[in-house]
Amino acid sequence: MTVPVDRRGWLRIAGALVLAGRGQRATAQQTAVVPPSRLRPIPGSGERIPAVGLGSWITFNVGRDAAARAQCAEVMRAFFAAGGRLIDCSPMYGSSQEVIGEGLRRIGAAQQVFAADKVWVAPASRGPAQIEASRALWGLPRFDLLQVHNLLAWQQHLPPLFEMRAAGRVRYVGVTTSEGRRLNEVEQIMRSQPIDFVQVTYSLADRRVEDRILPLARERGIAVIANRPFEQGDLLQVLQRHALPPVAAPLQCTSWAQFALKFVVSHPAVTCAIPATTRVDHVRENMAAGFGLWPDEAQRQLMRVQTEKML
């Protein structure tokens, strides 16, 4: 799939190449990585998806509010227009599944979406019924990815999910956790179960998964979805009290949101980050972080150091 880099994105890439062409001394602040594609591979299959997806925790749970549902559809329209594909949801998220399904129908994006949902029920015998109800709400023939939400009854949920995968009724299987909970158990699952995806919290402020989970994901060929890249907005609220640090300029970050997202998606183990938003301008800004210049490891270190005292 070709990612549509917009005019602004190409200008940014061209700007970086001009700097290099002038022979300017490469410093850690100027060196930037221009990856050949803004798509990240799913290790198990080689399928490539955009590095920035769309979360739906809270933002899409708007109930029967017609105006709010229409707004969610516009967020989705802007998301797909910017090349987005992966949308993540769960039965836990109230009316979010229904709102996503309505949005997909409204804008005709059923073919474009990489549908990632979750099973969140115990006992696990109720899983198939919940998955079918979720699928009906999305209005899709099948999910691309099904994840065991917050590891609830994972021992009982994973075998039937693997059977679904073998039968072609789902393409990928994964597990999720958030805010650093039960990482030991996540590691155990990654080592022992043939999962395709693991979803964990990863942000500038919460880097607990860097030590073991992310390296293990690379070693085991497991794709990583990073949730809460903005810590539900709290991270940006704290950072926005400060000016962007020096390392932001060579990375062409125009906002803290882009700074925070580029930090997350530039980790080599991360496949996709899923920031959530109710605003069209914010989703465009988020998607722009998946294009242009990404930090190399030296710049990532600078990003950590230059924001440490702010957090």
Partner: protein
């Protein structure tokens, strides 16, 4: 739920403050001007409670509270709040049970809402706070469209019930559990939606 100590109140709230407010605004708009009628009836009941003993009055007040809990269970929790909060369906069942218990109290028991001068005054003051609850919206800088009225929203209904049941003789302590839990939940919800930010 393992590692329960890592969860905050906010972790359990599935919706934004804006979504919740729009829900209340739409609910109020749909039912207006019923709120004004019910509120005036609540003020009249308060004034009546402040007067001498009356078995008929006490039964009517308890019956009115039963109707209030039924209305909140059906019109708010089940028909509206459950659309964004799956736990509201369970709350509706609990509120319905509270309504049934209050109705039984009104019809079958010999309880009086008159216990002693000091506790009667305290109970009346608490009930008055519940009746005055709609003023919290403009007092906190929010529009009148977000006003919460007894018989329509859980918090004022719980507070008025607490005030009345504190006066109950003999005491009906088990019936205080749901109003107290409701007040605690509403306080936690307000904190999660509007407080606790960096």
């Amino acid at each position: 739920m393992t590692e329960w100590w890592t969860y905050r109140v906010r972790s359990f709230v599935l919706f934004s403050a804006r979504t919740y407010e729009r829900l209340i605004e739409a609910y109020n708009a749909e039912l207006w001007p019923l709120q004004a009628v019910v509120w005036l009836a609540a003020v009249a009941a308060l004034a009546w409670l402040a007067r001498g003993p009356s078995a008929a009055r006490d039964r009517l007040v308890l019956g009115g509270l039963a109707a209030a809990w039924s209305a909140v269970a059906w019109a708010f929790e089940y028909r509206r709040f459950a659309a964004i909060n799956w736990a509201a369906g369970y709350a509706a069942m609990v509120f319905a049970a509270q309504a049934a218990a209050l109705l039984w109290l009104a019809l079958r028991s010999r309880v009086a809402l008159r216990r002693g001068a000091r506790i009667d005054r305290a109970g009346l003051a608490i009930a008055a706070l519940g009746v005055a609850y709609p003023l919290l919206a403009p007092a906190t800088g929010r529009p009148w469209t977000l006003a919460e009225v007894v018989g329509f929203m859980p918090a004022p209904t719980a507070i008025v019930t607490l005030g009345c049941l504190l006066r109950a003789k003999p005491a009906r302590t088990p019936l205080l559990v749901v109003p107290i839990a409701t007040c605690a939940f509403e306080g936690a919800l307000a904190w999660a939606l509007y407080g606790g930010r960096p």
